[in-house]
Symmetry: C2
Subunit: 185 residues, 2 copies
DNA sequence: TGAAGATGTCTCAAATATGAGACATCTTGC
DNA sequence: GCAAGATGTCTCATATTTGAGACATCTTCA
């Protein structure tokens, strides 16, 4: 199962490097339940590992978001599912947005496409929000930027709550309650 | 101005290490506008620097929270000022809570007191929340834990928004709007 | 069973991070 | 202008991290 080990390492890397970006790769291998030597067999170095993480996060977030948007023509339902999509992606979502909002985020050659897709995903989210605002369903005095950031914030809060040990089915309800009310629904 | 340089380094360390916990100290020195050599004159190593950061974050958060609670006998006003206190502390608040909620957070000798104070501050916040819930001012179906986490989350969101470049006076209004509605006010 | 593929162990060289000594230089208050 | 204190520069030794070769072991499937 070559594919599985590589995938395990990438998942581990996303978890660890999201918490501690410069953590030694030993820590990633540990989290993956693998030797550092094995990690290096799959990834030449941190750069390559990070690139694979970026691709995986992008793939996962794109898929989850696409499903959320396809779940209903009703933007309010779409918004709710967007929130759940972020929660389900967990660290992948958190790390993905973190990487693309860092102040030192430089567009290295080959990463430009990634950034373009990030922007595209962001745009699709914004469209849902502005439409709701236009229809007067949610508060229009909040900038769409703030609503997007709040969405991320509530997702991260939900992840935190899960780590502290909160019961799962209620978490989504709390998250949607707080987010929807928080944007003036 | 011996005091000032030390303080500058600590502030820089809080900013940098909050973003990237294992970042090389060179990065901290850079942020402080100082040489690595100078940093090492004030702090023997990462441990000591982190301990000073912890003390500074604790001091700053304690002071801000205390002022917030003293601002009014009305718990709703206290809550609003608690939010603003977190926003004003910025990275100090974010890093402070991060350090004390990490899963690998072990109580080294000498840090037990810090954790006790963190718990004490947390308890004071929780008291305000439970009182509001008891009085039926905010939604009682949300656990106080969730409300506390949401408070942190909105503070972090506000910090993110500020970094992206949002206009300051509105930010607080957005933050309080989203947080207060989000807890069912 | 046994050959192929995957992983662990041991080892090592290179790169990077850390901590500090020695001394020059740069403020600052007198 | 100068003495004291603070900081920068250059340098070095040590520690940690990184990347990979060589080989043993372990799994698995025909």
């Amino acid at each position: 199962m070559t594919r599985s080990t590589e995938q395990t390492i990438v998942e581990a890397a996303i978890l660890v490097l999201n918490e501690d970006y410069s953590a030694p790769l030993e820590r990633v291998a540990e989290q993956a339940g693998v030797t550092r030597r094995t990690l290096h067999r799959y990834f030449t170095g941190r750069e390559e590992l990070l690139a694979c993480c970026a691709r995986e996060m992008q793939r996962s977030c794109r898929e989850a978001l696409t499903q959320a948007l396809a779940s209903s023509p009703e933007p309010l339902v779409q918004l709710e599912h967007m929130l759940y999509a972020g929660i389900d992606c967990g660290a992948k979502y958190a790390f993905f947005t973190k990487l693309h909002t860092r102040p030192d985020h430089q567009h290295a050659p080959g990463q430009a496409a990634d950034c373009a897709e990030y922007d595209a995903l962001q745009a699709r989210c914004r469209a849902v929000i502005t439409r709701l605002q236009h229809d007067g369903r949610i508060s229009a005095h909040l900038p769409a930027e703030w609503v997007l950031l709040l969405l991320s914030g509530v997702v991260k809060t939900t992840i935190d709550a899960r780590m502290v040990g909160a019961t799962e089915p209620h978490l989504r309800q709390f998250a949607w309650f707080s987010f929807s009310k928080g944007i003036g629904l």
